[in-house]
């Protein structure tokens, strides 16, 4: 007998919406470009790979003269694990943006549980790796804010001016599984924009308002966002904090977060159509047909991330 519960109903509904939207997508012919590059170690070669990923993913000249804000994922004091975006990856992204003509590149993050972002960055090795980090970094949890309209029950949300006023936001997440939403990638990484100084640590207001709805809402609020995903070493199992390191050996970049995250899911062996927040945010962009993959094919690099028992239904079927 097949049991019916809320999650199954939600998954079925979102998949149906996705299917309809994909057809519409093909009609419109809008496609996102996503670059997938192999890179297996945090070494000096990372700089060139990240640059190549951006060159392949972005429209030429799209960073020229722009103020760029890098938003890594800083979560916990555990430099030996795969919990945070690697400092070398952040530095490589910074150099790549500058080499592509960005006028200024800054770094900002607002961690969700630990209150001292500067300590986290220090422990994660950011100060050692990025020269002048103290001048480049803003703790988004303590930044000046501005209220913006926000879809859903919250109606409005205060967000840091550093993020709102940048020309281009670059989401730099770690490729990880997530014990509430299945996977945390470039779109879920936007939770770090919400200021703990107002909403607290954790940013529990987002949980009560609905995690998928809030992820989708933030995605829509920041349309000028690109993503470079640190999948050199990711995290599997009980992510985003207590999971195990997973060597995926991949970097994924693009100028549409939904398309980038869908591609990451396929690499992780997760069906992106089964992630409710991806469907809710932009179902048009997550179908394979809606994405122009450059460099490597995600299918060729697929390396299944271990999923908690509760998330086995997210597993992407093996294709012949």
């Amino acid at each position: 007998m097949i049991s019916i519960n809320r999650r199954r109903v939600l998954l079925a509904a979102t998949s149906a919406v996705a299917a309809v939207n994909c057809d519409r997508q093909r009609d419109f012919g809008e496609r996102s470009r996503v670059a997938v590059l192999k890179h297996v170690a945090y070494d000096s070669g990372l700089y060139e790979t990240v640059r190549k990923a951006l060159v392949q993913a972005l429209t030429p000249g799209s960073l020229r003269g722009k103020r760029v804000l890098l938003k890594p994922n800083l979560v916990e004091f555990d430099p030996g694990s795969a919990v945070n975006t690697h400092p070398l990856f952040v530095h490589a992204a910074l150099e790549a943006c500058l080499s592509l003509g960005a006028a200024r590149v800054a770094i900002a993050e607002g961690p969700g549980h630990r209150r001292n972002a500067w300590d986290l960055a220090d422990e994660a090795g950011y100060f050692r790796t990025v020269a002048g980090f103290e001048r480049l970094f803003t703790d988004l949890n303590l930044d000046r804010t501005r209220a913006v309209p926000f879809a859903g029950p919250l109606q409005s949300l205060h967000l840091p001016v550093t993020a709102l006023d940048t020309d281009v936001l670059v989401s730099l997440p770690k490729m990880k599984t997530h014990h509430w939403v299945g996977a945390t990638l470039s779109m879920k990484n936007l939770f770090g924009l919400v200021p703990g100084g107002i909403y607290g640590w954790p940013k529990n207001v987002l949980h009560w308002a609905g995690i998928p709805e809030c992820i989708a809402g933030l995605y829509r609020l920041f349309p000028r966002t690109i993503a470079i995903v640190d999948g050199v070493t990711g995290m599997e199992g009980n992510g985003p904090i207590q999971g195990l390191a997973k060597r995926a050996g991949v970097i994924v970049a693009g100028d549409n977060l939904a398309a980038v995250d869908a591609t990451c899911c396929r690499i992780m062996g997760i069906d992106p159509h089964r992630l409710s927040y991806l469907n809710l945010a932009d179902a048009n962009r997550i179908a394979e047909e809606a994405i122009i993959q450059t460099a490597e094919a995600p299918r060729a690099l697929r390396t299944d991330f271990a999923l908690l028992p509760e998330f086995q239904s997210l597993r992407l079927p093996q294709q012949p």
Binding site: E134, G200, W201, N204, V205
Partner: protein, 312 residues
Amino acid sequence: MAESAAVGELRSRLVEGGGWTPGPAREEGAARFATVEATVLAWLALAANGERLATGHAAATSGWIAARQQADGGFEPHVGVSRSTWVTSLVLLLPFPIVRSIRWRSAVEWLLRQEGRESSLVTRVREVLITGDLRGGRQRSAGWPFFPETASWVTPTAFALLALRKVRDLGEVSEYRREIDRRLSAAREFLIARQCADGGWNHGSTRALGYEAPSYPETTGLALKALQGMAVPSVKVELGKAAARRHRAACRSVEALRWLELGLMSQGETLDSLALPRASMRPLLTSEIAIDLIARAAMRAPGKRSVLEPSA
């Protein structure tokens, strides 16, 4: 940073118009803005070290704080937020003459009206229906949220506990006395229930999906400080102190170390000296300088009530 330099640095972060900025200005001429958290901690740190603000600065900062009070009695975290949050507890920790300059009764009433959403009747009934657990579990003990209509967490509960104990000693709260005592008791239960398996405290989630979650140093110290002098089973206190000692031996964050030391000292631990934090090139946050100064003052005068305690 030497004590006098720390005091000087704090003074340099006073914002024109009142209040303290949470961090140093990094760009010449950049407009600085103040937050309630930085302001309260900085002012407490100066008070702990016998430092006074010049009359003009004190008046400006008192006025700036008073202007953060909302119509509902609570305080917004900085200009323009227009929503009362957990920082209301921090304001009530200020020295009494300052507290008396605001509508402090309204602030106390606001604080007493707040409790974690998870302890509301609706949420508890829903929890019982979903889990089948008729006991309602830990949700029965109401703590405080960071932001209204959200769940209780360790940090805002600990600060509310410290603030209400201090307010209770104002001697002018007889009408609130019973409710304050009830909430203090519930907050104590909340903190006990949220003690991690390793003995310390994290943000307030001891288990996630069946996995034990480890404690954090800063929240362990803060929870121990908040539970000072309260009726807590000694085994719980000892577990907390053991966790604090382990964190103290391993962590190098000045903020975390000082909260651990304040927590340990408040639970009767004698420390030979404050631990050395990690040497770092980065500028310290105002809250870090402040908590460092508060801990140094507590270390200089063990046994004397600190600025975070009643009757200071």
